[in-house]
Subunit: 342 residues, 2 copies
């Protein structure tokens, strides 16, 4: 009475079909596919022939259920549209496209609570690895990360105390380097302009502050920030605010390149000469910084590489070869351009 099979399934060949055709046990097929080294040359060839002939592809859901481990990388970023994180995701995606691993993407919207919620949801799937942006997880998030039992890579920053592995660069140093460059170029009343002051922006601000204080130039009225989401339009408004507060401003270090572009446009509008009257430095070095007129000095960060490196480390850990260097600093690079060339 039991109908042969594929009562519910779409009639796709299963591992049992392959086993029958190859004249071996199902488990041997399973092994031949996952750990070819543990199956004899002969059988492996037979099995491969049967797989090819039937067009067999393992069912990822059955695999996940049986092995209590899904071939999924959980990826948590604060924004899907911010080009910076889009680049990181692209790096992750590209590095994973030849592997059996899929990506489960989560958008935290810069919210620690949302991150907690997503981490809980992700944990249900027993992912093979987790990649999360930042190092400022809530205590609960941190505990969740520590107890998932899978490799965890925090990305975008460096820091002393990773949950597991860490790939990024120092935002503090980036901010300081950018500011020092302005100082060295001869600017004195250098403002900081920033939107959406997330922890990374805060550290860039701290770097700015350190540089300014070291040069004896620090003045809190030089800082203009807002919690609003960053945009080019906002950059324009913030420069107006900054100039209203401090008309003698002669340079700005911008939180990111969108803001820097807005600042540049506002200078055009107000007929403020760049770099003569005001120098501008951005952060991240998006393509448009090079193309702008005048071109804009920026701190180049290696977002795509961060994604790739994170995957490389996670894959190594999955393969049992956890890299001895668990914190990788990919650094940054100050790209000097016309906006500070006076």
């Amino acid at each position: 009475m039991t109908r042969p099979r594929s009562r519910r399934g779409g009639g796709r060949p299963t591992i049992a079909d392959v086993a029958r055709k190859a004249g071996v046990g199902a488990i041997t097929v399973s092994r031949a596919l996952r750990e070819p080294g543990r199956v004899s040359e002969d059988l492996r060839r037979q099995i491969q022939a049967a797989v090819d002939e039937l067009g067999y592809v393992p069912d990822p859901n059955a695999r996940a259920l049986a092995s209590a481990r899904a071939e999924v990388f959980g990826v948590l970023v604060p924004s899907l549209t911010n080009n910076v994180f889009a680049e990181v995701v692209r790096g992750i995606y590209d590095s994973l496209s030849d592997s059996p691993f899929r990506i489960q993407l989560g958008n935290t919207h810069y919210s620690g609570l949302e991150e907690e919620r997503l981490l809980q949801v992700f944990a249900l799937q027993r992912p093979a690895a987790l990649i999360v942006a930042g190092i400022d997880q809530t205590p609960l998030s941190r505990k969740l990360l520590e107890t998932t039992g899978c490799p965890v890579v925090q990305v975008m920053e460096t820091g002393p105390d990773p949950v597991d592995m860490l790939v990024g660069f120092s935002h503090f140093d980036g901010g300081r380097t950018a500011t020092e460059h302005l100082i060295e170029t001869g600017y004195r009343r250098i403002g900081f302009i920033g939107a959406r002051m997330d922890p990374r922006s805060q550290r860039r601000l701290a770097g700015y502050r350190a540089a300014m204080q070291a040069a004896g130039l620090f003045d809190p009225r030089l800082i203009t920030t807002t919690p609003l989401l960053s945009s080019v339009t906002l950059g324009r408004e913030l420069l107006r605010d900054a100039l209203a507060k401090m008309p003698s401003l002669d340079g700005v270090f911008c939180n990111n390149d969108d803001i820097a572009l807005g600042v540049l446009f506002e200078c055009h509008r107000a007929a403020i000469a760049v770099p003569e009257t005001i120098g501008i430095v951005g952060f991240n070095d998006l393509d448009m910084m090079q193309a702008a007129f005048p071109s804009v000095t920026s701190v180049r960060t290696h977002r795509y590489e961060i994604g790739r490196q994170a995957v490389a480390m996670a894959l190594a850990a999955i393969a049992g070869q956890r890299p001895q260097q668990r914190v990788v600093d990919l650094g940054f690079e100050l790209i000097r351009r016309e906006s500070t060339a006076r």
Copy 2:
């Protein structure tokens, strides 16, 4: 000898635990969670109490295996970093965040072959719905989409013959409207500048051509394109190329806003007055078009809304209420700004 349970699983409560605690059969728990209407009020409450107490959450993998249907939306876009598609994905993500559905993202890199490959991989998971960008699938891709047995939404365009459902707008009309605006404003030697000429860009170009021909202004030498990936830097180069070919150029319709921004910067560099000497129109209306100086006229498209609408239609179809209107045109809007205000 059989150890109680959770030999491999991480000891998470299962549906059987809930059933035991609530004093009902496992299947009733399953039903209470999925189709509450089919379980009596009493049991439903009892079961809910047990679920809450144990902190039970269904295992998505087991579910997918048993029901031969994963709670996953497959989403295929040509680029992860292009802001346009990032916005669509964000709309999809936001609309799905309160549902049990996860997102499986695929990046086709503007390649039909890659799209085919990804579609085959996605089909293995028996997704609940598929959302794909564009209407120019290869014949094989189209067949795969038709035979998956799940709702399919094509997005970003309109067209006569959707696989299933379709949400977008007419790129042809967008290109024509932009060009007509330039013509009406008094520009005559209007160029088309475009990078990465994917099918949507081709249709915008066709719209441009139609408008130019209707006005008796068309000249093939006014068209400057490249298959290279679009960027602000490329916009600058392409304007230089266009001007070299056609020094009398007095307007440009740009394929997208990145190109338009590059064109604007090149005008600055070459001291070409905008809008007096050259008028510029972009496409998509990214935030920076409004903030630019001069601000840039652009064709606003509703990317985020496209994502939301696509999910709404897919969810309706999953619920058995396929919308009678299977093609939704969300239109576009010409935003007139300084770059064409002469």
